[in-house]
Symmetry: C2
Subunit: 381 residues, 2 copies
Amino acid sequence: MTRPGTFQILARDGAARRGTLETAHGTVQTPVFMPVGTQASVKSIDPRDLDEIRAQIVLGNTYHLYMRPGDELVAQMGGLHGFAAWDRPVLTDSGGFQVFSLAGLREITENGVTFRSHIDGSSHIFTPEKAIAIQQNLGSDIMMVLDECVAYGTEYDYTAKSLEMTTRWAQRCRDAHPEGQNGRLVFGIVQGGFFEDLRTRSAQQLMEIPFEGFAIGGLSVGESPDEMRQLLAHTAPLLPDQKPRYLMGVGTPMDILDGVALGVDMFDCVLPTRNARNGTLFTSFGKINIKQARFRDDPEPLDPECDCYACRTFSRAYLRHLYMARELLSYRLNTLHNLRFYLRMMEEVRDAIGQGTFEQLRARYRAAYEQSESAAENCRP
Amino acid sequence: MTRPGTFQILARDGAARRGTLETAHGTVQTPVFMPVGTQASVKSIDPRDLDEIRAQIVLGNTYHLYMRPGDELVAQMGGLHGFAAWDRPVLTDSGGFQVFSLAGLREITENGVTFRSHIDGSSHIFTPEKAIAIQQNLGSDIMMVLDECVAYGTEYDYTAKSLEMTTRWAQRCRDAHPEGQNGRLVFGIVQGGFFEDLRTRSAQQLMEIPFEGFAIGGLSVGESPDEMRQLLAHTAPLLPDQKPRYLMGVGTPMDILDGVALGVDMFDCVLPTRNARNGTLFTSFGKINIKQARFRDDPEPLDPECDCYACRTFSRAYLRHLYMARELLSYRLNTLHNLRFYLRMMEEVRDAIGQGTFEQLRARYRAAYEQSESAAENCRP
């Protein structure tokens, strides 16, 4: 087996790249979309389903799993792999984003962040070392550093001080889990709000630390689609070419294709799974809502081009009925479909990069999705 | 293919019998448990799951499907078989029970029953002919006659008049769908409340009509377990030996085994599916609730004797976590398990009848389930 952390670029098409990232649980083909399994479960589906839709790697949430069922219990049960019966790679976020978006009464010091649980109000502290220890307990293949994710609209001075602290926290995370330990990887996270010079400073500082990959954090927090694209276009090229680049919590199909065009390799977003549960489905001809009356007696498959179980088996009329009747099967079939749509799009992306036809592929999706909403939607768990 | 409606008894053990019932969608091995798919979906699972747990036949609900999405739409989509992608037998109830338990403002006349929808308050009428026409639209393999299901505690005189009308309605149902038509079967339903002489009268009248099978209705409506057993012991032997006998809406594992001992061949109940959704699981060592703290760090499979996907794949600790976190996967895995428990029990029942060991099997379940609650629970959709 190739050493975990090895990232090989197999083909390029403009700034887009196709590659492979080695982990302790196997190889990930990039660009990759990672379904979100917040609480050790990709909502409504099981590991066999993930195999069938060809998910390569899933994301778990440090904050949620620390709260419930507790990372020590997960460790006792064999980590997320043993606990959730998933034998492929797992990436975990550091909990930073959720502490800043979900938890109450935060207090941030150089040491770490003290907060109250969104479940029972109990008090907790995450230090960089603690965030890594939790992720080690979870058995994560790719751990993320603890960062401060500043709110949209945060002023320059605070953002500048915050990114410096995030850099110091990143170094403490790396120290807590040195390069090569157990074949598990640690990725740094670029912050710096919506100020290009601060993003540059954050990237330069982080690149001094030997991380196996670099993420772009602090996007999809309420900015406009244009702001997001502009900041991404500034930040992505700052990151080392020879390491995987991960755009956290983004986004719509077009956001992802735009990210790939800028050289991003890894994506996660709750959009396909959350949308599935409110009946919004991604198809090769654009986004639809299955509850619309026009599907009432429609005998066609949801998306004739899709190879998922729902599209191979049921009519739009049946999927609409399940949704209208609030049947639990609705959530399952819609989730299978939306995730398969994202994963199939990434398969097409990888093929197109290999063939030098990525821009044609992006144009085809743009035609179907030009009216689609953008990353301003909150895509984080 | 043997003619639909053919019922062959292959083995007997006391009054218990093992047999086969032919339908237009294949052979059903009896005694059989039929998972309930109220709204054209067995809650939280799909047809592949039903195959995997070896469900032979599922139940659909005339009242619910008439309301939503409408039986004419279902007919247009190929009946329940086409609509829900299920190619094995389907039994539908007549809607009688739901009209009397769910709908509002009922008015019963000789012609039929007028009622208001529990969804939108709209006014509807079910006549015997209409109940059959709806079930024909649903493409049902086994249709049930429209009956009046009197409430628990209804007095003798009303019950006596009601059963006479139920008999006349049964004849009208048979007339609306003559024997042998399209290979679809019609079963009569014995009523008569909790009066043994009225049950006898009802059975005698119905047996004059050439139904392909006979059901015992009006149980599991609030009576004590003893009352149910006593009435069942009185009624089951009244029914023709050479036709299948169906005990509607019952019950716990012990209720079913007691029914088999009295010569009942077919059962349906929402108990395994509904209990699954509140975390109550049936196992070879009795009923448990997965939310109990003792399962928090329990690495064992839910039931080591069970061959379902949940038991083959996950620990009790993981199943408890999913339940506590209200993950949608919890409902799915619990449902798969509980249904497989019931279906595996019926496989054991059929084997035991063939081997003359049914009473030993029943004693084994009694040891595990003697404290289990009984059919006084409402088991109807």
